[in-house]
Amino acid sequence: MSYEPTIVAFLCNWCSYTGADLAGTSRMKYASNVRIIRVMCSGRVDPTFVLSAFKEGADGVLICGCHPGDCHYHEGNYKCLRRYHLLQKYFQQMGLDKDRLRLEWISASEGRQFAELVDSYTETVKNLGPCKMKQVIETLT
């Protein structure tokens, strides 16, 4: 009955990945559902990455970048924010719940926030139930 969602997380190298490392070095415990992919900047997260995560069977996608104003490349996180809003609109048209995608700012010192985010987002995705995208695509093709 209990289903364990799989969440793919894209973390920017400079703030968020370092924040996740800090959660590790501080031995904070969080849900093991999240799988992290490192990108240099949240601005690198191509919408096709998000869609392909669902295509491969992810139940949720998390993107983390530096706080506004703190992006290592000045404004990559703003670009990401715009794409995020567009993607969420697109999600609704595809019949996907917009909560299947989440964007959050995590700084290099926010290990605790990262751990809490993973836990709370895992809960959110758990409540949404399994994502059917992979199955749908498989039956269509």
């Binding site: 799989t6 190298n13 799988r35 690198r44 919408p47 096709t48 069977g57 670009k79």
Partner: protein, 580 residues
């Protein structure tokens, strides 16, 4: 047909750090079954010399062309392993790390789940590396000049170290004189050297050194470029804009005292004889310890940890205040032999050489040490009544005796915390360094690389990195100076090659990338009708790659193919394994 790939996978135990929570043997066994994986091994410490030699030996013996190490964070050891590959004659970019320590063994509690997650991270790395390609390191010439932000003891020490070896320094100071906080100090702990005697000759050397150009009343707004070739424009006090070019940056921007006005218990700003440690230092410097009324104080209380080590203010320890407080007691005792001195403390932290001895000496000088509860019960200071025969009374529960006490005081010295500078964030943005939650700058590695930062060519030293005393600040400053001199000596530095490239055959000339690039590194070639990346300006953020509608832009080492197959790898194993 795709050519065959020969991948070696190494799963690290990290002693028990990983092996305790992840079944490393099982991970290696399962991953060994994946296509293209020639060998998969587990080993106690991959980063150790024998660990690296194991990789080098296998590369040669098994003719490996790619290596995955599944261990700690790539932020710690990616470079170590890339070097090992290089030593074995492989291109360093034919390497990928799976982080199963910070992201798995240290944060999860179920061995089964942790092992499963580790497998999927390693499988993803194996998938990704299949698409890795050799990249050639680019080297650039180093401009031998260095810019130092901050003219306190740290900045001065670094400037002299580099300047004396004949290299150019631009020393930027926001105030109208050099010296920083040390200029306001009388004697230094624990050996009671005079701060002036330390500082003044150094300032003189700086001003007399033809290699060191000092800019007072100057702030840094923006710094452009990259390691070896930075530039900035400054407007010193006289209003004339100056353009500076330099190859390295040392940030030595220091810290500032905490304003204790926010702690109501202490009445700073309301009770005239409650003063800060800096104000008291000024009195010592002038050689006149008197109350606001001009009288010699009969009772002096020194309160420790003001704004430090308390969640409501700063959680961290400001490090130098305990020893400074003891120094005050010593100076008070010699200046006013009959005055009662009270050290109201939370814990005495006598770190460092000579400090514990200094504490012991001080405690023999007829000084009362009284302990209070810094976390839950700060002392309260109030104006005394006439019959009390003192100016103020400090009330608190003394922890060692357990008694509620009232301490008489005619002067209260608050040992204020040290905190990040007002403009810490501006400087961080200008030079591209990260800040911790307390706005101190983050070093590249807290143990292995304490003065470098994640931005090549930018170093952080002294109080801007965390509160520290004079010898620690100077050590850091000189360490950074030595690092910089070494790179100047080589004359060239390797820069990241993970830049973007345009495939001209499929670029449609829409110029979306030109608009999103934060570094104006992409221009449009009118003749060919395609975008062109200037690799020197490109910093490899990849934003252009994710906007390009035709997929003509490739972010090297973070290509679509690499990331998409990484996703595929992550998910394939997690689903397969979940069904089992």
């Amino acid at each position: 047909m795709e050519e065959e790939k020969r991948i070696g996978v190494y799963v690290c135990w990290c002693g028990t750090n990983i092996a305790k929570m992840v079944d490393v043997v099982d991970v290696a066994k399962e991953i060994g079954k994946l296509p293209n994986v020639v060998i998969a091994k587990d080993y106690k410490y991959m980063c150790s010399d024998p660990g690296q030699e194991l990789i080098i030996k296998d590369i040669k013996e098994h003719n490996l062309d790619r290596v995955v190490v599944s261990a700690c964070s790539p932020r710690i050891h990616e470079l170590t392993f890339r070097k090992a590959l290089q030593n074995a004659g492989l291109n360093p970019y034919m390497f990928e790390m799976a982080n199963i320590r910070e992201q798995v063994s240290w944060v999860h509690t179920d061995r089964g789940e942790a092992t499963r997650k580790a497998k999927s991270l390693v499988a993803a790395a194996v998938n990704r590396i299949t698409w890795h390609e050799s990249l050639d390191k680019r080297t650039v010439d180093i401009n031998p000049a260095t810019m130092i932000i901050g003219g306190g003891i740290a900045g001065i020490s670094a400037a002299l170290e580099i300047g004396n070896s004949g290299r150019k320094i631009f020393l930027i100071e926001k105030e109208n004189k050099l010296g920083g906080h040390l200029a306001g100090v009388d004697l230094t702990f624990p050996y009671m050297y005079s701060a002036d005697q330390i500082l003044k000759p150094l300032i003189k050397q700086v001003t007399n050194n033809p290699n060191i150009e000092v800019f007072l009343n100057t702030q840094i707004d923006e710094v452009f470029g990259y390691v070896g070739n930075f530039e900035t424009k400054i407007t010193p006090g006289d209003g004339k804009e100056v353009e500076l070019k330099f190859g390295n940056v040392i940030v030595a921007s220091g810290l500032k005292p905490y304003d204790p006005g926010g702690i109501e218990n202490y009445g700073y700003g309301k009770l005239p004889n409650v003063i800060t440690s800096l104000e008291f230092e000024q009195m010592l410097k002038k050689g006149k310890i008197v109350t606001k009324e001009g009288a010699e104080p009969k009772n002096v209380a020194i309160i420790h940890c003001v704004g430090s080590r308390n969640k409501d203010y700063h959680e961290y320890c400001s490090r130098i205040c305990c020893m400074t407080a003891l120094k005050f007691s010593n100076q008070l005792r010699s200046a006013l032999p009959d005055t009662n001195i009270f050290e109201c403390y939370a814990d005495i932290r006598s770190f460092g050489k000579g400090c514990e001895e200094f504490y012991a000496q001080t405690s023999r000088k007829d000084i009362m040490f009284l302990m209070f509860d810094q976390k839950n019960d700060l002392p309260r200071i109030r104006k005394a009544e006439t019959m009390d025969e003192c100016d103020m009374l400090i009330e608190f529960n003394e922890l060692l005796s357990g008694e509620d006490i009232e301490v008489p005081a005619d002067m209260v010295v608050l040992m204020v915390a040290l905190e990040a500078q007002e403009n810490a964030r501006d400087i961080a943005h200008a030079v591209g360094v990260s800040m911790c939650g307390n706005e101190f700058y983050i070093e590249r590695h807290p143990k292995l690389d304490p003065v470098a930062t994640t931005t090549d060519g930018v170093y952080v030293v002294g109080g801007c990195q965390s509160p520290k005393d004079i010898p620690d600040s100077i050590s850091q400053a000189r360490a950074a100076a030595a690092r910089i001199l070494a790179t100047i000596n080589i004359g060239q530095v390797e820069v990241e090659v993970t830049t973007a490239v345009v495939n001209e055959d499929i670029c449609c000339g829409c110029q979306t990338c030109v608009n999103v690039c934060p570094y104006t590194a992409i221009s449009f070639d009118e003749e060919k009708g395609v975008s062109v990346v200037n690799e020197v300006l490109c910093k490899g953020c990849g934003t252009c790659g994710s906007t390009c509608p035709t997929g003509a832009i490739r972010s090297r080492h973070f290509t679509d193919k690499q990331i998409l197959s990484q996703i595929e790898g992550l998910m394939s194993t997690s689903i397969e394994l979940q069904e089992v």
